[in-house]
Amino acid sequence: MNLLSHIGKFSILIARAFSKPEKMKIFRRQLMFEIDSLGIGSMGIIAIISFFMGAVITIQTSSNIDSAFIPAYTVGFTVRQSMILEFAPTIIALILAGKVGSNIASEIGTMRVSEQIDALEIMGINSASYLILPKITAAVIINPFLVIISMFIGMAGGYIVAWGTGIVTTSEYLYGLEYDFKIFGVYYAIVKTIFFAFIITAIPSYYGYYTKGGSLAVGAASTKAVVTSSIVILLVNYVLTQLLLI
């Protein structure tokens, strides 16, 4: 199937998904479930990855500063900028594309091959809206919080390494974290995160929804969903960076 055909089918599905939910009470219940499943359920892996990202950036930056003209607080500054501008929003999005994306594609794909989606349609329910809208909405709401938490944990990871190894003093590290701080960086990260949240829920939903066949097809849909979402995240990351930072 060519790219244009995919884009067309994807657009039609998302338009159906964004129609008004049949019952707001049910939608709210689904939304809370998805916030818990997609967001809170990803906290552990996000915390671990963010901590070690901050720790590694601290060690790498410190070990690459040879010149006496470069102040030591550059380490804290670099950790902050890297975490806020790129690592927290983009790397976390890529991790979630794997974890959440495969989960969504296989869940919806299994519902398709076991006729559960047909059952929804026969009941007169807009299956796209019922299944996909709560996932997209949940991710768009919760992911910015996850990314902000990731930023803090990453910087805390750097602090603990600085304190534990002494490669940079904690006061210089903290000074670097505060140095020339511009809130725009956080806004930029949140804007990116909202786009990424849409991508990591909508694309896997699309692959899951149009699964044809049996369990093998569900596995294939899950793989395609993760690969496609990751590529689209990187492309959108480039476009948004170009638009927002230059």
Partner: protein
Amino acid sequence: MIKLENISKAFNGEQILSDIGITYEQGKTNLIIGASGSGKSVLTKCTVGLIQPDTGKVFYDDREFTALDSKSRQEIRTEIGMLFQGNALFDSLTIEQNVMFPLQMHTDMKSDEILERVNFCLERVQLTGVNHKYPAEISGGMQKRVALARAISMKPKYLFCDEPNSGLDPQTSIVIDQLISEITKEYNMTTIIVTHDMNSVMEIGDKVIFIHKGRKWWEGNSDSILSTNNKELSDFVFASSVMKRLVDKK
């Protein structure tokens, strides 16, 4: 009553259904029989709108379903109950939640009224004490009954059953057949059953339609099917040695 007029459908150039016209009667169990790949399931999916036919019309009473937009179709679908071959129960919901699902989505009933209706439907299909279990925790026969309870929870005007006996033992099959037949009369529904189980045909076939090579090949009832001169139908019916012996005895 559901009426099909000149329904045709092809996939990738291969003709699956050709010019099929059928009237399914209200208050009766209308059975569609035919060999695997004859087009029975595609015909059913065309009837409920899961597949759009290439040509032809589908009428639900006087409403032309095929001419409606998706919103109007959804309204008609609230009058349809469907029992899927694989049951299509929602894995993440309990038995009780599965049966109450259509009621929660389409009615403004209070939760105690919904629960009352759910319990009534589960009792109607002779299933009690499983409300809080998940579909994976009950047997295939019980799952089929839950699916039937869910299908009738909205008091549908039309009931579709796709291979309701597949994967069931003969005794459970008879129970499911009897339930479908009784419920059809009770609610005065138009019931369409896709099957190749000849037991079902003989037990509950008020009207029987034989599909062969994508065409309506024969129409009659469970009495006339045994005396048919139609070769393809005879080959299908008497493929079972039990059926052969039954006729020989008679």
